[in-house]
């Protein structure tokens, strides 16, 4: 029999029972009982410098570990500071449990000090949320929260616990039985008849393309996708979040599709007669103008969330279920076909879509962001765990750092949250301490959460931080150049001296201004004992190419002007 415990003690025991080993948080009035009980818990707590950092760290931890990430904050401003990280996790289907303190139940609704209706605020950006006002309900609610966050299509769950519930004493009731919730049935499985129809459609296709999304990574379905490709010989295009789900260096890997996808990938999709989408949701950044998207292609949509079917693109066959189960069902049913003419056609696109940007850049010593990405990939042998922020550098990373393994790229895809990279990388490092973790951020996004540099120092972890510093909010500047007559409104950006900033935090700072300095700086960062911040001063007004303007057709891309011939050294 359990002995009587406070709600706060029950909370930590409940987290321990869910397998939690680290939480990211920040204390405050309404969560103080929980922080007091933390002192007796074996769970490690990482003190963040801003609660947004806590939700991003939990997110990075979850994306790399495949487990549920946990963030904790106090009521009111503590809770509202979590919001951006919760919304980020919601749009990228990342399992989080966010625990917030709430004012005592008798004060709820009275506009008490630091009271915010956080379950109301987070209602549209959580998969589900709870307000707990009794110690008796804490154990059961935490168990449900982990189950909801991690099952089906994962997502963030918030548990708001009143201060009196944390303080009250009760005898906890623990259960190891599977969670049963009346209205929540997350499992779906595609029917055999539909699988057979899909297999026939796949076998008949002359110009098929696989679209691999985040679902491949989440469902741990990379090996099965590999089998499917080996058997069918169908080329694979990836979404941003799908990168690494299929090896980038595989001969049948086409690369990233969409707004900043490779030209040949977008051309292949537009000319396809069949698209087989695995665990992706036809986001507008992927499809371009919907009524011109792959008009001649039939679509097989393999997706866990029934609400995604026919949302943006009409599916000829929808296979609703975990993509792992779907692939397991499909692999034995499909057969090898001669795809040589189609692959030759794609090779033609590759040829005629000129060569990669990096091969068309001037070799005059100037430093382009693409050089940094390419060199990072080469020097780390493609094995680093890379966490990117949002903007131009994020696209360049996606284009030039070839990820061969899942869960080695962490980035905010759906919400596009600037400031994500640094805290998410801290979470990623806790999830996989043995990995060489690189933060790649722009000078703008980095400054949004740069306060977490101190967290790195306090926790004594080692990261590698590359700031792609072009003195602009680069992606917005690029849009202003292309679509607003070059009127640079609020995009020129002054930054602190990042080398001194690193040093002020007890870290090492380096500056790189020319291409020939890249290798030495990267190697120094790798060899250093602690975290090194490298300020890469790159070409200021470079743009990401190709680019599908928002609302344009996928094949309607802006290409890099005046391509220069490639040189052997960049192959």
């Amino acid at each position: 029999m359990s002995s009587p415990r406070t709600g706060a003690q029950i909370l930590w025991e409940a987290l321990r029972r869910e397998g939690v080993d680290v939480v990211f948080g920040y204390p405050g009035g309404a969560i103080m009982p929980a922080y007091d009980a933390l002192l007796e818990s074996p769970i490690r707590h990482v003190l963040v410098r801003h609660e947004q950092g806590a939700s991003h760290m939990a997110d990075g931890y979850a994306r790399v570990s495949g487990k549920v990430g946990v963030a904790i904050a106090t009521s009111g401003p503590g809770a509202t500071n979590l919001v951006t990280g919760i919304a980020t996790a919601m749009l990228d289907s990342v399992p989080l449990v966010c625990i917030t303190g709430q004012v005592s139940s008798r004060f709820i609704g009275s506009d008490a000090f630091q009271e915010t209706d956080i379950t109301g605020v987070t209602l549209p950006i959580t998969k589900h949320n709870y307000l707990v006002t009794r110690a008796e309900d804490i154990a059961k609610t935490i168990r449900e929260a982990f189950y909801v966050a991690s099952s089906g299509r994962p997502g963030p769950v918030l548990v708001d616990i009143t201060k009196d519930a944390q303080q009250a004493i009760t005898v906890p009731v623990w259960s190891d039985a599977p969670v049963r919730m009346r209205g929540y049935r997350p499992e779906h499985r595609a029917g055999g008849e539909d699988l057979a129809r899909a297999a026939t459609m796949i076998d008949r296709a002359k110009r098929p393309v696989i679209l691999a999304g985040h679902g491949i990574v989440k469902a741990e379905a990379s090996a099965l996708l590999h089998d499917f490709v080996a058997k069918t010989g169908i080329p694979v295009a990836s979404t941003l979040l799908g990168l690494g789900g299929f090896p980038a260096t595989h001969p049948l890997s086409l690369g990233m599709m969409g707004m900043h996808g490779e030209a040949w990938v977008n051309h292949a999709i537009q000319e396809a007669d069949l698209l087989i989408a695995f665990g992706m949701r036809f986001d507008d950044r992927v499809t371009g103008k919907l009524d011109t998207f792959a008009v001649n292609a039939q679509k097989i949509h393999c997706e866990l969330d029934p609400a995604e079917i026919n949302k943006n693109v009409r599916a000829d066959i929808a296979l609703v279920g975990d993509v792992r189960d779907t692939l397991e069902g499909l692999v034995p049913l499909v057969s090898r076909r001669d795809r040589a003419p189609w692959l030759a056609r794609i090779a033609e696109f590759r040829g005629d879509s000129a060569v990669r940007d990096i091969q068309t850049m001037p070799h005059d010593g100037r430093l382009f962001a693409a050089h940094v990405m390419h060199d990072l990939w080469r020097i780390t042998e493609g094995k680093a765990l890379v966490v990117t922020d949002v903007g131009q550098h994020q696209m360049w990373e996606a284009q030039y750092y070839k990820h061969d393994h899942p869960r080695k790229l962490v980035t905010s895809g759906g919400l596009g949250t600037m400031g994500f990279a640094l805290p998410a990388a801290i979470g990623a490092k806790f999830a996989s301490p043995g990995d060489e973790v690189w933060v790649i951020a722009g000078d703008g996004g980095f400054q949004m959460t740069a306060c977490e540099l101190t967290t790195i120092a306090q926790e004594g972890i080692k990261l590698h931080i590359a700031i792609i510093n072009n003195g602009y909010l680069g992606m917005v500047r690029q849009w202003q150049q292309f679509f607003y007559d070059g009127r640079y409104s609020a995009t020129p950006l002054r930054s602190p001296d990042f080398v001194k900033l690193a040093e002020a935090h007890g870290l090492t700072g380096l500056r790189v201004t020319a291409r020939h300095e890249v290798e030495a700086a990267v190697q120094r960062a790798r060899a250093a004992e602690g975290t090194v911040v490298i300020d890469f001063r790159v070409e200021q007004e470079d743009s990401v190419y190709p680019m599908v303007p928002a609302g344009a057709a996928l094949h309607d891309m802006i290409r890099r002007p005046n391509p220069i011939l490639e040189t052997a050294e960049d192959d």
């Binding site: 379950t119 109301g120 209602l123 549209p124 998969k127 589900h128 307000l131 909801v148 919730m181 009346r182 209205g183 929540y184 049935r185 779906h188 499985r189 595609a190 029917g191 539909d194 129809r197 949509h301 969330d305 029934p306 609400a307 079917i309 026919n310 949302k311 009409r314 599916a315 000829d316 066959i317 929808a318 296979l319 609703v320 279920g321």
Partner: protein
């Protein structure tokens, strides 16, 4: 794409604080416009029943259903549009009626089988129950006398025959969209 039509959903939800907010928030967030919504207790303890009427085409309707099922507290959703079902709504109508017009107004109400709830020197209050077009009809003919106030409950619906909207009947989503 099919044309839009009025649809009636019957939903069973857990009777917990905030569930109505979750449902309406979903409709608001996805930009679906609710025509009417009613909530009340059912024969099962802990379960509330909602009737929601809204306009949508077939594909939107299917996605609304899928999105509603994503709400953890939603037990069962039934789109009754293509099923045999009875639907009723109640309205109270206060209409101007002085000595000169009262007889006419009462006669009209009689045709619609509306009950008189209150008689005042200058006005009458009617209660009418029926499908939505019957209420529209009465409101239409009373308009020329001057409607002072009108309140409608919104529709409630029930499937015909011995069938019940059973929670256990929650099916797998349609896997084939073609």
């Amino acid at each position: 794409m099919t044309s839009t039509r009025l649809r009636t959903y019957i939903m069973h939800v857990e009777d917990l604080p905030g569930v109505l907010n979750r449902v309406t928030s979903l409709f608001r967030r996805r930009g679906y416009n609710i025509d009417s919504l009613t909530v009340g207790r059912t024969e099962q303890p802990g379960v509330s029943r909602m009737t929601i009427v809204m306009e949508a085409d077939d594909e939107t309707a299917r996605r609304i259903e899928a999105n509603l099922y994503k709400l953890v507290n939603v037990l069962k959703v039934e789109d009754t549009t293509r099923r045999p079902c009875v639907q009723r709504e109640l309205a109270l109508i206060k209409v101007r009626a002085d000595q000169a017009s009262r007889a006419h107004v009462l006669q009209l109400a009689e045709v619609f089988r509306a009950r008189v709830l209150d008689v005042a020197p200058e006005a009458l209050i009617f209660e009418i129950t029926g499908p939505r077009d019957k209420i529209d009809g009465l409101a239409g003919v009373l308009a020329e006398y001057g409607i002072v106030e009108l309140v409608r409950t919104g529709a409630v619906a029930m499937l015909r025959s011995a069938e019940a909207v059973a929670e256990q009947a929650q099916e797998q989503p349609r896997t084939s969209a073609a």
